[in-house]
Assembly symmetry: C2
Homo-oligomer: 147 residues x 2
């Protein structure tokens, strides 16, 4: 659950990016922000339908689009034909679990630094690098539960 104070930040952020502050937008942005699931439009819609019964799926699509246009959220690069969204701003990477199809955030300043410094010294011909994300493929493994 998000604290009220975060909703204040959401409102300010929308406003600062020239987007009118509507309950729908606050709810949608808030949901993506708090979600660790990298939700699809449908999932966001399902999540906020409980608190915003009247909301329409079209609005969710439009809003996710506006938010990603303004850079408040990002479209996650997946190999499937469905779009998923991510609201984290810091550089981070994604673990793709091939078994469960889950996408898990992965952050490590060391990795960040490692790749960034690679690009600093290595210039790619005819291409100006503005950022990067690492897709890490593999499988989630269960730790032995202590029964």
């Amino acid at each position: 659950m998000l604290t009220p104070d975060i909703y204040t930040q959401i409102r300010e952020s929308l406003s600062a990016h020239g987007l009118k502050v509507t309950p729908q937008r606050v709810a949608i942005y808030g949901d993506v922000l708090q979600s660790i699931e990298h939700p699809t439009a449908e999932q966001v819609f399902a999540n906020i339908s409980t608190t915003h019964p009247g909301i329409s799926l079209g609005t969710v699509y439009k809003t996710l689009d506006s938010l990603s246009e303004k850079g408040l959220i990002k479209k996650v690069k997946t190999g499937a034909g469905i779009q998923r969204f991510d609201a984290r701003h810091e550089n981070h990477h994604h673990l793709f679990c091939q078994k469960t199809q889950k996408i898990i955030d992965y952050t490590d300043p060391e990795l960040e630094q490692l790749i960034a410094s690679y690009f600093q010294k290595k210039k790619i011909q005819n291409f100006e690098v503005s950022g990067f994300e690492l897709n890490i493929n593999g499988e989630q493994i269960k730790t032995q539960p202590n029964n």
Copy 2:
């Protein structure tokens, strides 16, 4: 243009993966192999329609699916809701041009080595890494033409 000998390899490869060798499959796999564009199903369909006038788009979808199931090709992770395919086997990464939406292959053994050795020493909790791809975002820049 692919040499006839590569078509032989395609046939053997299909066969070795338990897929029956049909003209359609050979054409589709061949097209993805030779394409540097990371084509969509529609693009493959358009490309091979000239040489295989009767082919159906549904077949292209089914075949791309079979091929990627067998690991002969891969679905490229993009941020858009359209699937694109890649037939390269060696580890390689992708440059995403934000201006033209083009996807360009990028290979560098040094980068490969850099990240691989990172994962060797750094274990991620509850996750077994089987591979990785780096998405490099930025813009293609024109080299000054010598006018």
